[in-house]
Every structure is written in C-alpha cells, then in structure tokens.
C-alpha cells in the first residue's frame, strides 16, 4: 500500500520553483551521470560531495524534514546493516576487537573501508533519486524517458501506474475506513484483534485488486472509444500552455 509520504512527494514535485521548472531531460541526465559516478568511482569524497549538494538542494526547496527522513531512513538502515556485516566479516587486518557476552567481535580495516563506501554510495544514490522525484512530476519524467528512447511500453506502464496509484489509494482508504467504522480493526494488541485485523486487511487487498481489474476493463473501453491502437504516445502532443 502506498504511504502518505509518496503522495506528498508528488505534491512537492508539482510546486513551482527553479528546479521544478528545469527541463526534466536535463535532470534525468544529471541524475544518471551522478549515480554512475557515485557507484562507479572509488573513494569517499565524491559520494560525500554529492550528498552535501543534494542535501543543500533539498533544503533550498524547503522539503519538510519528515518527508526526507521517511524516504531516506529505510535505505540508510539497510546500508548500516551492510556496513556492519562488512566491518565484522570481511577478512583483513584487524583494527580493534571487543568482547561482548563472551563473544569476541573483531573489526577489520578493509571491511570498515568497504562498508563505509557502500553506505555512502547508498546514501548519496538515494539522495540523488529523492532530489529527482522532489523536483520532477512523474509525467514529465515519463516524457523525458521516452525522449531517451526507453522502451515505450515501460514508460506507458509507469505513467498508468502513476495515474491509477492515486485512484486505488483512494479506493483502498475508503474500504479501510468502512471496515474501521464497523470494527474491522479492533485491537492489534490481543491475538483475536490481530486475527481480525489481518482478515480485514486481506479482504481489503482482494477488493482493491478486484476493483483495479474492473477499472482496467472500463479504462480500456474508454480508450477504445477514443481510437486506442496500442500506443498512448503522449510525447507527440505539442504543449501550447
């Protein structure tokens, strides 16, 4: 299910500022180059520099901290886990060790460096993508991808997903509220309530799936009426406004 912060990111990308006004193709190109550099080049300096740059941009466009934290924390958490594994299990020269509960934990220098590199790469890659998504509405991103000759079917699926994500989110929320008002989610703390809530959630997911299917049928009919021939082809529309 979509989180509220995803919808918020879309709303932020619709705002008018210097970065949202910039051509989406330039932003996509810069993001891809930055990602390639962060992932492909050795050392800490570049990822740190890019992270600082993207953080400054995020600050400049005044994105609420909650949104940034919500989007950054899950991959950062993953990066920390990877960092710990590397530091503890990557063989090499031991930097220091500590004893905990009768277990000796050894930290290796090479592992520490590799783990830090991976962690910094994850953080700066995520910040690049966050910047792109906070400054580029999805439909503009789609048209930029078509311009870069990304297979049209992929872009069309992206654009249709983007459009109907909001519709299905609304439908899912309506079903959830209807369930909640009839005690569909009584109490997660006791087993009976937990079982009931799981039951309600699975019903909700099944209903959203069925409605998505129905809607897809109707949307296909509506597209046929307007001469759909297998090609959404939005890029040929010459915008005048």
């Amino acid at each position: 299910m979509v989180k509220e912060s995803y919808l918020m990111v879309d709303a932020l990308a619709q705002r008018d500022n210097t970065f949202t006004r910039m051509d989406a193709r330039v932003k996509v190109l810069l993001s891809v180059l930055a990602l390639a550099a962060v992932v492909g080049l050795p050392g800490f300096k570049l990822p740190l520099f890019i992270f600082a740059l993207t953080s400054a941009l995020i600050l400049a466009i005044r994105v609420p901290f909650k949104i940034v934290a919500g989007r950054m924390l899950p991959p950062v958490f993953l990066g920390i886990v990877v960092f710990l594994f590397m530091a503890l299990f990557h063989q090499g020269s031991q930097v220091f060790s500590l004893e905990m509960l009768g277990l000796e934990l050894k930290i290796y220098g090479e592992g520490l460096i590799l783990g830090t590199t991976v962690l910094l790469r994850i953080i700066s890659s995520v910040s690049i993508l966050l910047c792109l998504s906070l400054t580029t509405p999805v439909h503009e991103l789609g048209y930029a991808l078509i311009w870069f000759h990304i297979p049209r079917v992929i872009v069309e699926i992206l654009l249709l997903t983007y459009r109907y994500l909001f519709v299905l989110w609304d439908e899912g929320m309506r079903i959830r509220q209807a369930q909640a008002m009839r005690l569909g989610y009584p109490d997660w703390r006791n087993p009976a309530g937990w079982k009931k809530a799981v039951n309600s959630t699975s019903t909700l997911m099944a209903m959203v799936f069925i409605r998505a299917y129905d809607r897809a049928e109707n949307t296909f009919s509506a597209m046929q009426i307007r001469g759909y021939n297998g090609d959404i082809a939005g890029q040929r529309y010459k915008k005048t406004a």
Binding site: L159, R226, G227
Partner: protein
C-alpha cells in the same frame, strides 16, 4: 435519424438478460434522455450502441448505414461516449495529455491536436487546468475533463452515462448547462442516461424510459409523464412539481388541465387557478 436501433438483445455471460429487444431512434440535433432505474440496462445499451459490446441479435444503424460497415475510426469520429465515473476515462497523467489522446489517435498534425485540446478545454470551461495532473482535480472538474476528451474527437453525437451522478446541485446545473450549450450552440446531438426525473423536463427534447431491458415509453417529456402509472411501474416517479399538481388536483380540487413538469409551468397553473382563468395556462 442519426442512430436507429432495432430489436437489440444482449445477455451477459452469467445469464442476465440486460437488453431484450430494444427499439430506439435518435433524431440528429436533439437532446435525448434515456431514463431508467438502476439495473435497467442503460449502461449496457450505451456500450452496445457504441460498439463496446456486440449484441446477440438486432440491427444498429448510424445515419442509415449498418453499424458493422463502420471502421472503428469512422465510428468514434461520429460517436463520443462519456463514462459515468470520470476516473475510468481519464487515464493520462495530465488533463492536456488526456484530451490529446483521441486527436493523436486520429493521426492529426501536432498543431491540430494542440488546437483541439485548447478548444475542447475552453468549451468545457477548464482551459486553465491543461497542465494539471488529473488526480488533483475535483470530481466536477474530472467530469468536465472527461467530456473535453470526447469533444476533442469532434463527434456528431455525445453519449453520456449518468453525467450528473455524484455532483452537488451547482455541479449538476453546470454540467447540464454545458450539455445544453453543446447541443444548441455546437449542434452536437446529446444522448444521456439518468434516473433523476426532475432534470428531464428542464432539458430534454425527447425521452425514452428503459425498464428491464425494454423501452417502455418514448416521446416528449409531456407525452411520457402523462402515462403516470407506466412511469411509476418502471420504478420511477413523476417530477416533483407534477406530483404536487397531482395532489393539488386530487385533494384540493385545483383545476389541472395538463400536468406541469417545471416550476414555470406549475407557477402558471397556480396563477391561473388563483385568477380563475384555468384554460389560460394549458394553451
């Protein structure tokens, strides 16, 4: 006749007989309303006459030519269909992209596509929303955008499935006035479905009542609503003012020569009764 339908039948795969021998004719240029309760077959009928469903039996002709002789492109240049839920129809990320979808499929030049997008959005009164993502529109704005998407195909007839469903009274009035404007000014034939009987006398030139897959009644609003018992038998009712006039005649012995269907007609009837000139309002 722009559309002629003769003995059309349609049965769903679960055995539900949605249409059982429907006969229907729409003259060009008119504002026609298909009135029917929920489940009467209105949406199925619209899907059949727009070629989205194939009837098991019956003939459909568009401007005298059998339906099957039309290519899809030819057909959809003539007939536009606006779905009840605009979210079914608006699939593109922005309003402008959605409206451009039909003209692009007609393989028009980019300039012509842009002109049609602009014109259609101006006709429905939302040119300022051209670059707006669809999910930020209100329900009424989505309805207008859906109509604009069909208008951009420049059809001769627009079929609308319950276009006023889910709108507030001001939204209903705005959509109906828009449809009247398209009918009178742009000369587009309008066929819409509704079960809101109070709307019918205000806007329709001609109405059909569909009930359980059959056309029960057809004619002008005055002709159809004069068949009171048949209208009620179809799970519908008379317009409120007509019902009031019926009660005034029955319980208060007011002279009612002809059932008023609109507030204006009811006012004339009451004034005539007050002034003692009963014959004046019926003429």
């Amino acid at each position: 006749m722009i559309i002629e339908v003769h003995q059309v039948q349609y049965t769903y795969s679960d055995g539900t007989k949605a249409l059982e021998g429907v006969d229907f004719e729409i003259p060009g240029g008119q504002f026609t309303i298909l009135l029917g309760p929920n489940g009467s077959g209105k949406t199925t009928f619209f899907k059949v006459i727009t070629g989205l469903l194939n009837p098991e039996q019956g003939d459909i002709k568009i401007e005298g030519r059998p339906f099957r002789e039309f290519s899809r492109e030819e057909l959809y240049k003539r007939i536009g269909f606006v779905f009840q839920d605009p979210n079914d129809q608006l699939f593109a990320p922005t309003v402008g992209d959605d409206v451009a979808f039909g003209p692009i499929n007609l393989k028009l030049s980019p300039d012509e596509v842009s002109n049609r997008v602009r014109e259609s959005l101006e006709m429905v009164g939302i040119p300022h929303l051209i670059n707006k993502p669809v999910h930020y529109l209100s329900y009424g704005q989505k309805k207008r955008a859906a109509i604009a998407g069909v208008l951009a195909m420049k059809p001769d007839i627009i079929i609308l499935d319950e276009p006023t469903a889910g709108l507030d009274p001001a939204g209903v009035r705005e959509i109906m006035e828009l449809l009247v404007k398209l009918n009178k000014k742009e000369k587009i034939t309008i066929l819409m479905a509704t079960h809101d009987v109070d709307l019918v006398p205000l806007y329709a030139d001609r109405i059909f009542i569909l009930h359980m897959g059959h056309i029960l009644l057809a004619g002008t609003p005055a002709e159809v609503f004069s068949q009171k018992e048949t209208v009620r038998g179809a799970q519908l009712r008379l317009p409120r003012v007509a019902h009031l006039a019926e009660i005034l005649a029955k319980r208060d012995h007011m002279a009612v020569a002809e059932l008023p269907l609109t507030i204006g007609e009811a006012r004339k009837m009451i004034l005539a009764n007050v002034n003692g000139d009963v014959n004046a309002y019926g003429s």
